[in-house]
Amino acid sequence: MTLDTAPPPVKQVRRERPTPPRGPGGASRWARRAPLLPALIFLIVVTQLPFVATLVISFMRWNSLDPTNRGFAGVDNYLTVFTDAGLRSSVVTTVVLTAAVVLISLVLGLGLALLLDTKFRGRGVVRTMLIAPFLVVPVAAALLWKHALYNPSYGLFNGVLTWIWGLFGSQNPPQPEWISEMPLSAVVASLVWQWTPFMMLILLAGLQSRPMDAVEAAHIDGASPWQVFRYLTFPHLRQYLELGGLLGSIYIVQNFDAVFTITSGGLGTANLPYTIYQTFFQAHEYGQASAAGVVVVIGSMIIATFALRVVSSLFRDEVRS
């Protein structure tokens, strides 16, 4: 049913802007769109129908453990989302987590991209190895950090501390309990490890699309490497930094794997996706979980709109040049 109502806006736009004069008849105009339709219909059915369901449920009083007490709740669920201390703190955690991961991985990614931007033997190999963290299965990566790196008795970090202290003849190296002492930083570090390669790839593409003649001219005119970076490279990279930041934000806001695996949302690391998951599957508060879901959708759509604008401006540049 919703399927029938979904396409019309698209149709209207098409009517407003008719095909150019050389355009063929109506039937063949539809034939041109035909290859796109299966994908589009699929996308709309699987994402938008459930989303409509979420919207409806978000205005309902619905706890599956209490099936008789089900009904229209107005905006109560939304009020809960914004007033409940647990949910509010998870909003804050989400923002802190996302901002920290995106900023740190952008800075590190920029450093690596600048290093990789020069031609040297084995550059391909280095680049491949550097993107490995991005391609490791996220749950495996989170488990890797939790068990192989952070573990107080046999983790790599404490092993390295023991080794360094051992070099100086000390028998009592510090052996911190990484996850319980700094839970949020532990999650941030593992995500930064995974996302830096992604930022590096985007920034490297930016560096390599830089007009080299201007850089050479600046060198000949006696500009220092820092001046070249500050006045030529950085302004050119700004768009790519924005793009990396926005795409990174969209995905890290949604992060679930790392929080679930490393801390199980404990110790103040529960972000919104984790809280929604918990509200739904453990507290069975369907109404509240849906309302929180709608809030996440609105937030992501705002970021995504900005991301789209950056993508399309990059694309225009490419066409123009």
Binding site: P18, L36, F120, V139, L143, A205, I250, Q254
Partner: protein
């Protein structure tokens, strides 16, 4: 750049050295560490040695002896392959339309599917859970394949349309002039040129499906359709008195191997695909 020869080579050597150190410490150390843990016997697991003192394959033997892991591996491979195939077929058609055909409203359609790519998965989990339970899809292969296709499709469309834009389409016209039917022109001329792009996209989509955790943990409840990442998070060792770290390390190595192989064999294409998909949109 007019650098003095000697100075430049020294600078290069320094840069090369720095890079080597960075790469090894950053990317490989953690990965090698988990590989090393997976080869350690239960007694030496906690000794903190980088190279195992006693090499053993027990951890691998243990995980492959449990149906929990083997079944999950089969589920993961089957679900990811089916979802990839369907997403790439639909995605190729859509990307062809976007790259090749001109029609009003195209931008809007592209925008809509981009927005869907960025749609937060967690807000779909709860309704999908309810819908799939009432349709009997909960805890089945199709129950996971459907959401995977949905989120893989936009990825496939962008990567593919970036590749398709580079194809010299005049060749198609030339083939038609020489008397080929549209079908023949597509099969004989365009398909071979498009194959590398399609192949790269398939790898990226496969990795995406293989890596998913949120849908897999929310929409499954038994071994019947549980995928490897979920099975991994439920790992408790072969007996309850045993520390599961050895098994976790072994399982993590096993599920990461296919991805690493893909990357090693197809690294140039994957990097091209990731960057073109991300930057050219």
């Amino acid at each position: 750049m007019a650098g003095v020869g000697g100075a430049e080579t020294t600078a290069r050597k320094v840069r090369w050295g720095v890079l080597n150190a960075v790469v090894v410490i950053y990317a490989l150390f953690p990965v090698l560490w988990i590989a090393s843990l997976s080869f350690k016997s239960a007694a030496t697991l906690t000794d903190g040695n980088f190279v195992p003192r006693e090499w053993t394959l027990d951890n691998y033997a243990n995980i492959f002896a449990t149906t929990e892991f083997v079944r999950a591996l089969l589920n993961s491979i089957g679900i990811a392959l089916i979802a990839t195939t369907i997403a790439v077929v639909f995605g190729t058609m859509a990307a062809y339309a976007i790259a090749r055909l001109d029609f009003p409203g195209k931008k809007l359609l592209v925008g809509v599917s981009l927005l869907i790519a960025m749609f937060p998965q967690v807000s779909l989990v709860s309704p999908l859970f309810e819908i799939e339970r009432s349709l009997g899809l909960f805890d089945t292969w199709p129950g996971l394949i459907l959401p995977y296709i949905t989120f893989a499709l936009p990825l496939a469309i962008y990567t593919l349309s970036a590749f398709f834009r580079e194809i010299p389409w005049e060749l198609e016209k030339a083939a038609k002039m020489d008397g080929a039917t549209p079908g023949q022109a597509f099969r004989r001329v365009i398909a071979p040129l498009a194959a590398p792009g399609v192949f790269t996209t398939a790898i990226l989509v496969f990795i995406f499906c293989w890596n998913d955790f949120l849908f897999a943990i929310s929409l499954t409840s038994t071994e019947r359709s549980r995928t490897v990442p979920v099975a991994l998070s439920f790992f408790t060792g072969s007996s309850q008195f045993e520390d599961p770290t050895g098994s976790i390390a072994a399982a993590a190595v096993v599920i990461t191997i296919p991805i690493i192989l893909f990357v090693l064999f197809f690294q140039r294409r994957i990097v091209a695909g990731l960057t073109s998909g991300a930057v050219k949109g």
